[in-house]
Structures are given as structure tokens and as C-alpha cells.
Symmetry: D2
Subunit: 350 residues, 4 copies
């Protein structure tokens, strides 16, 4: 295929160190379901990186699966999960949360982020509503860092949201599908240990951040979810060869690889953003991470389509489309340069 | 208690004819689960009233139960139900639809009503979204007639919505919890036979319209939902003494009682509305049926509270509250007059 | 209809005192959803009858609904409910428990009863199984008193089961759909206060015991199930006119009516049993309450069919059928005599 | 670790050809979610191997997940799945089927297999039961080939089961988690094309048969399950980098690798079985595939424990334990010989 692929950050395989170790250890025998030595080592490294020596760490396969499993395990049947109306669980998980019996209670967003104020208003309004016993009780908050729009919560914003969670007894859960791209972003001031301090549960994304697949769920308070192993099994989310997940996360958390692996993607996205700005093309959302959103007139989009694989995002009106271009840990400088050349041609064309 | 009750239309028991027949037939023996002669007779009368001689008619106990059961039976697991964001299933059923595994997909509303245009836009946007296979597919539409805001769909509006349902293969379901108050309203132009012609399923409300309890589900195409009896049982919605439901609906559909039973409530609500307008007090929503919504300053509300039982509706801002006053088939003229006197005092007070 | 009805104990309406009070109070206005004065009074009387002044008491409409709601509220997602393989939830609730996401873990039965020993073996075997983290954890026990076979647990048997529940941290729930027929049975030594002492939750059946409909859920430890009201609503089990339930149970618990209402049924069933034994016809199960089970050759059954409405129970082999004859609080002596005459003819016929 | 691993067939990584191709193609870019060229090629090869050119083929990650997803997609809400009481879905999936709302209806087994006669009796009994509308309707049959006990259905047995499925309108689904070990077994007479001819859905296991992970679902009639993609997503079973699954199955179905990969395991298991028989040790079940079940006295088991990793199977009584020893595609002859030596020592010890 000769097109340029900027559709997503899960187009390639894994960091070469992962494939090398998979190959080297291929015929080693290990116990199943995450009880092996690779998982034990990965857990220990993640605990250290999060400065949370007691944390429970579990490895699951994919993001939707992880969200559904964690959310089901944190909520009682009569509770729902608060999320931005643009949150992944609100829009692109095919009803996986509802399949588990829970309502997604949506909040307004600004470029994918919810605010502590809106969250507080929702809770205050719920609890002061004379009919709230007939309504779905908010039981937890779902955030993504970075968000689906590529934006970041600041540490201060997360602390403010945590405060509301404390006031209204909500669990706080952060979806870190693209967490490496937050951690590598110069604008970011939220560390792994901040997440461990502020969240009830969060996950460190592997699939989009250098692994073949896999997400590491961190539960800072290890007694929080009894029988989580069985819950994972019940959700069809328990990998028989758990070792595969352990090995990948062990590699990603050796020598701080996870903290660095996103840098290349940020550099590529920054270059694309800068070039677009130089062409006078305004970006659709102010996203500092590895996703670039731009709005194209449909004629320009048709020309782009011939040379670039991108993601559809939304149609603001007839005649225009917002698209996403995503870089990854594996994007190389040549591809980025080529993409910029294509964009320049297209956007400056009459 | 000496307060005036205008909180809802389910404060009293049943039309006296129902209690009389219950008493007369109390020791008659009949088969269970709706297989008795009372149910057979009620079904026949409802079919005739709907001019739909083939319709399947089933009797359930309450509204939330009926909505959850019907919606589960019409949707496949990957589908959701479209409803106004103010619809009863969206707000006041404690997540009963999600408990069954389905997402409520919300549409904007005007005074509780959705429009055919918004419905069409939603469907067009869904099917043209490049990611729609990752999203909850709209599978049916939920409406209420009258709506939760007391407003009415016109026949033309329902026909336009039906047209969108045809175009996008959506089932159309109408919640008629308060249907008697629509049928008795001079503004209404939607008959039972219109509903039977336009809906895939609708229910005729008993609980709020003269019965002790009970809702009659009408499925104009009798082959539409195989094994509905078992689905009802599975939802805990099958009444052992089904005869009780049959007897009540048989009574309500004898001599057109159901078509007339709402008139008294409309007259009472009209009198209240007229009095409020005469005081210069504007109504919160333009509702022509048995629910009156008004916005009161909190001081006035506190005074009302001493004399009247009403329903909290919403808080538009600090200092004001929208409340609901509902009349019923059993409201008597003396109560209405008294309420108007109380309102006059409170609203004209400094 | 001229046939004799002995198919079930829910063929008639309600005790006349209930209908009389319904009629007298029909136009009284009351608040909805069980917050009214009738419910408050009924709760108080039930607490007194159970000698459990702190108990939480809730009124639901029917048995399957009550079982599904209580079981969902007591279990975590990874837990199942232990029940006799003949238990109502195991067989005749159309999958209502599984609809809520829970497995029914079945135990062997003797005439509908489980034993403390079998229960202990199951739990011991589960917890000693090396794979138990991949299995459904037993979280509670479901019993019925009387059972579906009309048999009774003795107080000693219930205490032994309670002991196992304590040892393995299981909640104990008793389905009392026909509880009045246990309480009225001379063989019974389990009182309401025994149930309150031994169970985490139990329900006092109304539908089959003199009410039009309704079941009273008793939770002796009132903090056990937070937000039970909302759970009930979510299950479609919240009756708008909750007053109807309160009034019925208030009547049933006035002057010990509930303790006496089953006596007539026991007398009738005893007469039938005695007559059958006198004819040399052996009973299918040793049931001392209001249900009589007998096995008939299919030719005899065809003759019975012409004169008596009975319940199909099971087919032990080609050529024979076990049927159930049930008496109720409303069965009169004339009917019982007639039934015995019919049985005599049929069974003594060549 | 120096122990011998015979606990399961998922202790190692993947066939080396898979790792090599993963490494070679690591930085190739491809579209997500199974829409890539590797998946297309694998689908085509599987269709050819099944002689079913129209079949729909989908790739999922693990067995429990696949079972839950397929079963939910084949059943309506009021239906359950028939399975051996020893079936994986009946015992070791932590309630994943019930989580989706469905009851597992169990049948007796002989060494893990159900019979067409028992299946027919169940269905006949269900449909002739006067109360079947209150019960869970059987909607499909679940089998595993080989079974959890390592036994095999013959072609004639599957045809007889299919006949019952036709007679009672049941879908037939075969779990082929270990299918390669059936296909490689001399006793087996069921080919992939037999499965495609007899089943509504079956899956070809990868995880235990040479892949890192992955199961290929085959739906011979491609219109059978509309929107299966979305159902997979909703179950959290859609792998972002679908290419990984395509590449693995493409490799396994190149040059008939899948048909041969099990031979080594069968040879190893046959050697162990022969040795045990020679020692006079009778096997627990007559299993001809890659699983060997034997019953050990607990003293012997303690000695085995020091040198061998095995699987607990069940405790037939105090003092004895049935264990499972499983070989795999990767078991080498040296390990097998060592295991036989250890077993000889232990079993011949006083």
C-alpha cells in the first residue's frame, strides 16, 4: 500500500523490544491467567512508576473491554457513570456499558473535557431533585487522559474533580488508552503518581502506546474491588496466556520506556500542526497530543483521500468534514514530511 | 390530612364501577395469567375501540414495567431506543431500560415533544457516520401521548414521525400512561385507531385513568413479538390474577367510559389555567391536558406548601421552582375551586 | 362455568374485608409509591408480628418480581444464588434471575427441600476447587416455605441451613408466596419471628393468601440493602398506587387474620388427602399444606378433566401424570365434598 | 523453574512461523478491527479449508469471550442454551452467559458428551409441559469438540444431534477451543467441512492450538447474525489491531498447518496413556486427544506436585484427586519421557 497512514495510533505492531522478548521466551512455559513471573515483574515496575507500592495491577486486552469491566465492578445496579457526552463510553463502545446494565450520564464538554463545576452542578441538582429516588444515581466519574479530542486535564483540574467526587461519594476512573501521549507532552503536568493519588482506578494504555495489545488497570487501594479476577473472567476479558500482557508491560516499564515512547508522536503531531498553522489552516480543536483535528472542505477531502488514510471525525455542516490525523510512537519523519507536503498542496489548491 | 391534593393523577382508587364489579365477582374462580374470560372480553372491546380486529392485547401492571418489557422485546441487543431527553424512560425509570441492556438515545424536545426533523437528522447522521458500526444503532422510537409535559402530538406530527420510522426501519412505540387525558382533550386529533394504524406497539394507560392499576399493551400486528407472554413473565410483569386487569379494562371499555373519563380532569385543569392567566401568571409550558405547570418564586411556594400537595418539577434557577398540579378523573369541582382560591391568595400576595 | 376449580390458590379475588376497605377508602387521596399512611400502618403491624421492631418492610406486586428484585439486590455480579433444582426461581420464572445477570446454582432436593448437608458440601467443594476463581461464587441461598411441593422446613432445619450460611457468608432468603398455608399448618414450627431471626430477607405472600395481589418483603436488618426503593423502581416493581398494597397487608395483619386465613385451606386439603388414602390412592409427595399431589393414569385423568380444573405437575412416564390440586382460603366445604365424590368415582372406576 | 509443565495446552507462546511473520511485518501499517488484508487472506483460507466459500469468518481473542458473544447473538431474550452439565459455559466461565441474560440449561453427560436422545427427551418434555410458557425455552445447543474431558463426538453423533436441532428449531454451536487436537486424532471422523455442514456457528481455536491467542468464528450461512461486528464490539471482544488475529490464522491455515499442528500433542498423550496402562493405572476417562485424566491417591499426588505442574480436575472422594495432564503442539519428546519416568516412580512407590 502506498498511501500515508495517519488514521490512528494502532496501525503498526509493537515496539521492537517487545517482539524480541516474545521471540526469545516463546517456548518458555508459564502458568496462565496472569499468575506468571512476567506479570509479577510488570506489576512491580508499574507500582514503582506510580509510587504506589500497594496498588493492585491487572492486565486486560483492550480498551472497551477494560472500561466495561471496571465500570461494572465499581457501580451498584442502581448507579450510573458520569462522562463527557463525547467520552468513548458515551459514543463509540456500541453500548458496552448499557450491556452491563448501567446508564452513561452525560455532561457537557469543552473539547472533550468535563469541568468540576458542571460535575458539581449535576450532583447538586440530582440530590436536590424531589424525584431522585426514581432516577439513576451518579456513582462514578469517567474521564480520559488525553481525551478523545486530544486535550489534557491539568493536575489542578483533576484535583478539583476529585474534590467533587469526595463531596458526592463518586469513584473516579481515568481511561488512559493514550496515556503515553499525555506523559510525553510538554504541556502535561499530571504524572502517573498523580493519577494514583487522585483516582480510584485508572488504566495505562498499551494497545495505542507501543504494545501489540493490552491495558494495565491500576487500583491504588488494593482492597477496593473484591474478586476482580472473577469479574474479569465473567466479562470475557481474561487472557489465557496472561504472560503476553505481563511481558509487554514489563518491557514498556523497563528503563522508563513508557514515559518516552510517546515523544516521537508528539514531535510528529507538532510538526503537522505547525505546518497547518503556517498555511493559515486553523485546527478544529486545541489538542496538544498526538491527534490533529482539522476541518476540510469536501473537495479538498476528496483529494486527500487519494493519498492519505485518515479518520472521519464529524460533519459540522454539508460541505465540510472534520478529520483526525494521528501520529504514533512508530511514525517516522519521512512520513510526516510527506504528509505535510500533501496537505500543503491540497490546502493551497484553488 | 386536610391539604388539597394536586400532586398527581394517581392519588385516588378506581372508578366506582370497577370496585363494584370486583366486589360482585370476588369469589368467582378464574384461570390465571390473563387466560380468563374477563381478559378475553376486554381484549375484544379494545380491538373494537382501536378498529383493529386482529390486534394482540396484553395487560401489564405499571408503566415503567410496560416500557421496559416492550422495549426489550422490540430491540436486538445492539440497538437503542430514541426518546426525548425529557421522556419518562430517559429520566424517571431508575435505569430500567439500561437494566435490560439498552441505551436510551436522546433527542432534543420542545415541551416534551420530539420532531420528525430532529429524528430524521439523528438517523441520517448515524448512518452517514464512518464509525457507526462502533455505535448503538437506533432501533425504535419512544413517544408519550400526552407527553410528560402535558403536550400532545397532532396526527400530522405522528404521521411525519411514522414516515421517518419507515425510512430508517424503526419501530414506533407510544406510551399512553395518560392517554385518556389526550382522548378527552378538545385539542386532540389522534384517535385510538390512529395509534393502531401508526404504531408498532402502544399502551393504553389504566393506572392514571380510572383503574386501580394496569396498562393495556396493543400490538396491531399480532405476529410482531413472538413469545411475548414469556418475555412478560421474565420481566416479573405477569400478574397471577390476570382477571383483575381484564375486569378493569373491560369496565373502562364498556360504553366508551375510557373516552369520557378524562373530561372531568381537562375541565378542572382548564379552570386552573384560566384562573392563573387571569391573575397574570404565565404557565411554564403550553399544556392542554390534565397537567398544569407553573413557576413560583420560592416564598410563594412555601406558602402553597402549607395548603396544597403538588409535584416538584424542576428548578430553573435559585429562587424559583417549576411545579406540577395534576387533576384526574376523580377531581371534584369543590377542590378545584379551593385550589384556585389558594393560588389567588398566594400569587397576589406581596 | 360449572367445573370445580382446584388448579391453584389464586383463582379467587381477595378476603372480603379487603374489598370492603378498598371501597370505603376509594376516593381518599394519598401519596404514591408506598409513602402513604396505609403502608406505614401495615409496616408497623408486620414488624410487630415478626417481633422485629426495626425491620424494613417493602411491598411489591408479585412473586417472580419480588424474587428477581431481592436476589439482584443481595448479590454482587460475580455471585449466584443457591436453590433447589425444583425451586421456583430454578424452573418457573422464565429466566428472570438470569435476566438480571445471575446464575441459579442448583442443589438436589427431597420433595422440594434442600438439606444443610448438601448445602455445606456444595460450598466446601466450591471453595476447595482449584479453579473456583473461574466459577460462579455462591452468594446466597433461596428457599421457599412451604416449598413448591407443599412441604415444610422445620425450625431445626432452617437453623442448620443458617449455620452453613454463617460459615460461608451466604445471605439467606425465604420465598413465602404461600406462607399463610405454612403458618396455619399443624405440622409447622416456624413462626414469623423465627423467619425474622434466621433470614436476611424473606417475603410474606399476599397474592395466594387472601390479597388481590402483593408481597411484603421483610429485611430484618434495615441497613442491609441501600437504595432498595430505587432498585425496586429499576425492576419495574414499584406500584404507583402503593396504598393498595398497604391497605391489603394492613387488613391481613389486623387481628391476626394472616395467621388464620390459611386454616380453611389446610382443612380442605386434609379432607382430600384423607379421602384419597381411604381409596388406597397414594399421594405423590408427603405435603402437609394446601397442595395435594397425586399421580393418575391417563385414562382417569381424561375423566377428571371433564369435571375439575387442576394443575399439570409432571409426567413420570408415558401413561401417567402427576397433578396438583390446590385449596385456598376461599375454598368452601361444598366444593371439597364434590371434588372428593368425583375423585372417588374416577379412581374406583374400572 | 525446573518443574515439568503439563498443566495445560496454553503454557507456551506460538508456533515459530507466527512470531517470525509478526516480526517481519511489525511496522507495516494496516487498518483496524479486522478490515485488513491479513484477515481477508485468513478468511479466504478458512473458507476453503471448510469447503464453505460463502462463510462469514470473524476473529475474536479468547474462548469465554467467543462463547458469550456468539450465544448472545443467537438467542432471543427468553431463550437459553442447552449444554452438558460439564460444558465450559456451564462451569468455568464465571457466569459469562448469565451476565448476558441467558440461562444455561444443562443435560447429563457421558465423559463430557451429551447424547441426541437426552437432547430430544429434554425438548419433548419442555414442549409437552403445560407450564412451558413460564420456563426458559431451549434456543440452541452448545457442544465442545473435543469436549472438556478430551472425548470426541463422532460424525454420526453430530448428525443425530443436528437432526434434533432441526426438529426443535435449535441452533447448533460447537466450541472448538482445542479443535486441532480433534482433527489430529486418529479416532476422529469429523472434518472442518462436516462442522460447516452441521453447525450454525462453530469456532476454530487458536489460543490452545499454536497461536498466541485468538479464535476464528465460522458462520456458514453469512446472513445468519446481522450486525455481528457491533455485537462483538459491545461485548468488548473487538481487537483494535485485528491484523494480529488475521496474521496468526493465515499462518495456521497455510499449507494445512492447523490440520497437522496437533499431531505432536496426540503422540505425547498417547505415550503417557500407554505408559500409565502399562503400570496398571487406569485412566479416569477414555479420552483419545491431548488431555490425560488420572486419579491419584493424595500421597502420590503430593509427590507428583514436587516435580510436575498439572491441573486439578475434581475430588471424587476424600483421599483421591482426579488430575489432568495436557500436552500441546509444543511438548517435546524429552519432557514426555521425563514425565513418564516421574509417573512410574510415583505410581510404583509403596
Amino acid at each position: 500500500m502506498d498511501k500515508l497512514y495517519f488514521a490512528s495510533d494502532y496501525q503498526e505492531g509493537a515496539h521492537p523490544a517487545i517482539l524480541q522478548r516474545l521471540t526469545e521466551t516463546n517456548l518458555e512455559k508459564s502458568e496462565g491467567y496472569g499468575t506468571d513471573a512476567f506479570c509479577a515483574s510488570a506489576r512491580e515496575k508499574i507500582r514503582r512508576a506510580c509510587r504506589c507500592p500497594e496498588a493492585e495491577v491487572r492486565f486486560l486486552v483492550g480498551g472497551t473491554q477494560t472500561n466495561a469491566t471496571v465500570i461494572d465492578s465499581l457501580l451498584r445496579s442502581y448507579q450510573g457513570v458520569l462522562a463527557a457526552e463525547t467520552g468513548h463510553i458515551s459514543t463509540h463502545e456500541a453500548g458496552a456499558i448499557e450491556f452491563g446494565g448501567h446508564k452513561v450520564l452525560t455532561l457537557p464538554h469543552q473539547f472533550g473535557k468535563i469541568s468540576a463545576d458542571d460535575l458539581r452542578d449535576y450532583c447538586r441538582s440530582f440530590w436536590s431533585d424531589g424525584n431522585h429516588d426514581h432516577m439513576v444515581m451518579p456513582g462514578m466519574v469517567y474521564l480520559s487522559q488525553p481525551t478523545e479530542y486530544g486535550t489534557l486535564y491539568s493536575r489542578a483540574e483533576l484535583e478539583a474533580i476529585r474534590q467533587v467526587c469526595n463531596d458526592y461519594r463518586l469513584a473516579l476512573y481515568v481511561d488512559g488508552a493514550r496515556l503515553a501521549y499525555a506523559l510525553a507532552c510538554p504541556e502535561n503536568d499530571v504524572s502517573l503518581s498523580d493519577l494514583a493519588r487522585l483516582c480510584d482506578v485508572f488504566y495505562i494504555g498499551g494497545t495505542k502506546c507501543g504494545a501489540l495489545f493490552g491495558e494495565a488497570v491500576v487500583i491504588p487501594d488494593p482492597g477496593l474491588i473484591p474478586h476482580f479476577f472473577t469479574i474479569v473472567k465473567q466479562h470475557g476479558a481474561l487472557l489465557a496466556k496472561g504472560r503476553l500482557l505481563g511481558l509487554q508491560f514489563d518491557t514498556l516499564f523497563t528503563d522508563d520506556l513508557y514515559l518516552q515512547i510517546g515523544r516521537n508522536a508528539i514531535a510528529a503531531a507538532d510538526a503537522i500542526r505547525e505546518a497547518l498553522r503556517a498555511m493559515g489552516c486553523s485546527l478544529a480543536f486545541p489538542a496538544p497530543t498526538n491527534q490533529v483535528f482539522l476541518c476540510l472542505e469536501d473537495g479538498a477531502l476528496a483529494r486527500l483521500d487519494e493519498q492519505v488514510v485518515y479518520s472521519f471525525w464529524e460533519k459540522p455542516d454539508e460541505g465540510h468534514t472534520v478529520i483526525r490525523l494521528a501520529s504514533s510512537w512508530a511514525t517516522n519523519a519521512g512520513e510526516t514530511d510527506q504528509l505535510i507536503r500533501v496537505l500543503t498542496q491540497i490546502i493551497s489548491a484553488p
